[in-house]
Amino acid sequence: MSSAPSPIDVRPESGAASPTSGGNPEGECTDNQNGINVSVNEHKYQEAKSYMLQTSTNTGLNLYDHLADMLSSILSKRPGNIVDSFEELSKKLKRERAKASEDYIYDRPVKPNEIEHAEVEATLFKASDEEMESAMDDEDAQSPVPNIIELGAHFQAAGLSISTEELYRIYFALKSLAEKQPLQIVRFWGKILGLEKNYIVAEGEYREGEEEEDEDENAEEDKEEDENPDEGDEEGEDDDLPKSTYKPQPLIPKEEKGSGANKRTYFVCNDPGREWVKLPPVTPAQIGVARQIKKYFTGRLDAPVVSYPAFPGNEMNYLRAQIARISAGAQISPLGYYQFDEEEEEEEGEARENFIENPEFEGVSARELCDPSLGNWVHHVQHILPQGRCTWFNPSQKGDEEFEDEEDEDEKEEPDEPEPEVGPPLLTPISEDAEINSIPPWSIKLSHKFAREIAVAVIRSNLWPGAVAVAKDKMFENLYIGWGHKYSAENYSPPPPPPVVAEYLSGPDITEVDDPTVEEEAALRAAQQEALEEEGGEELEEEEDDD
């Protein structure tokens, strides 16, 4: 079985140190004394070695080389507790060896995402370099972008923040946005998380008169209402198909740019450095449906929103609607920071929409802002009415014209004048906010309990988880980081579909009546016969069917 001993070098060939682990036979040291023993041992040794050199039929490796590699790697790297992870190292070496032998296929150079990202972000920094040169000349130019790095530090103290690295990139992205669009104010509104990508949202207010008209406004806005169909079928035309009595809800027009829910314009991008996309103005219908659904954002603006009730728009519109709701519900400022413009005339019956910064604002200390009565904070975004707008629109105004051509005025009911919806006026303190399931709508505390001098007031919304406001003295800011959904302790359940509309109006032709029984029929015939007999009674028809 074993071959004759041939002069093979006992020491391994791969250049490792002398073998130290057990299992190797004795060397040549004792061959003087125990010549026979040595040859037997050497014989055994050769046999063992040739066994170890056997190539595996599966992988082409042999144990000898593998052990040699392992030991050389262990001895050169000297990892700790190697005896416990010995098997792991063995597997790793095998994997590496297998990889090396397979690489005859050229690797297709795939740009790793990291490099792509870095290239996109490099454009940010390039733009800022150019601007530096022009800004050196114009020292008085005020940047419309606030110092978000400084604000970021406050938010970090508040416990809700974005890393400084990302903040820097957002800052540069906002600056490039301010250059491309003639905006008076640009704010970092927040970050909305999505399944595949996130959105960075910037809020902007255009300089007066500089806003462009949107070219691709929703064409559906201008569609006329369907004509009100006549109620009740005319008698005599039995072949008429029943006309639907369904009257669609009157279309409530969206608010003008610069007022109500569309007061500010919003821009989003997925990552700082990518193109900013301007979000279209929001319509009351979109807000109405957005209130009834709860969907995740995917991160793609053109993604469809599949829901019941059907959302009139795609993800871009849903995003805009949620941003409008969050702004209306959770954007707050210290009392006195904003005030109504005294010079503006107040129209009767109309809520005040505009406010300006109070030049005499002295600042409110953090401790006063943390007053649990919440009286020191006010909403500075108009509340959105149940209708979906901030100012009430009377839908029956349009309908009045169509009532002139009515045929049956008796049948047509006079629609009741809908009650105008009223909401809390602008700059209402947040202490007036409604509680949610007996939880206060806002949680307020100081950022540093034990370092009151540097602490800022932190106020978190419990209605919109992720909305945070910080303020101290003359500084304040709002930020939203979250998924974009309202809080509800109860589970979401979609609204039930509307009841089935009656097809036919009930009337004698279609009311179900039991078939007359035999007795009733017989009685009727008997009565008819009597009537005939009275008249002359000559013709008698005998009915043969008696059952």
Binding site: D84, S85, A118, A157, G159, Y296, N437, I439, H448
Partner: protein, 253 residues
Amino acid sequence: MSVTGAENRVQTSLAILRSQNKFQQVYFWGKILGIKDDYLIAQGITTDQMKDIKTFYSLDCVTWNLMPPVDDDIRKKSEKIKGRFTGDPSYEFEQTETAEVDGMTSEQTIQLREEERLSAVLEKIIEDGAVVPRGAFIKNAKGIVVNNSNFQGLQPLDAVKLSSYLHFREAIQLHKKSLIQKEKLEPAIDFLDNIEEDIPKGCWSVQEERGHQVTLRSLYWPGLTAYHIPNTAKFGYCYHGYGEKNNDIPFMF
């Protein structure tokens, strides 16, 4: 998400906690936000990374209290109680349930202390949300779960796949698999459930941040985030949220 200014004493107090309890490692697990106050949670580990864990909570980052143990009774009650945590560990949650039994409506009031609810919720979050990259932990010959010192990180292409991440909990799904399904698994590494099999599909959101960090977010527990930097041994997870499960997932896709 980050710790507030008040809480940067966490590092110091965790070091003290570790020496007091003779832990091998102490992790900052996360934060559960209450209405008035927030809970900070930390975990200490002795030998087995999965079994020898003790969980502590603190309101002020100085004193750490051991979480009470959870039994079935508390688990069942905590599933029924809804609403936010208040921030007071001794607060009693009360919920009345009306049940119709044989035509008669009976009311049952469930009472649960906030501390116990916290403990139960924590256990659930860890069960659903604690994820680690595949290969980061191994079960050694004695059956003890330890850090894999040879873990070099996932490949970038693997790191964005859900199948490269495992639940860090006692395996449930794994035992139900047939031998054929287990053929390709390595027993030392794959002794945990794969998160790819979580129902519904898509309850984990995987994002690649700026090309070099992979972030996983759980949709069942909004606020639970796990991260891993491919080709390095850096990974972790933490929770920063309200401690309420999001049961509306099926409606939200």
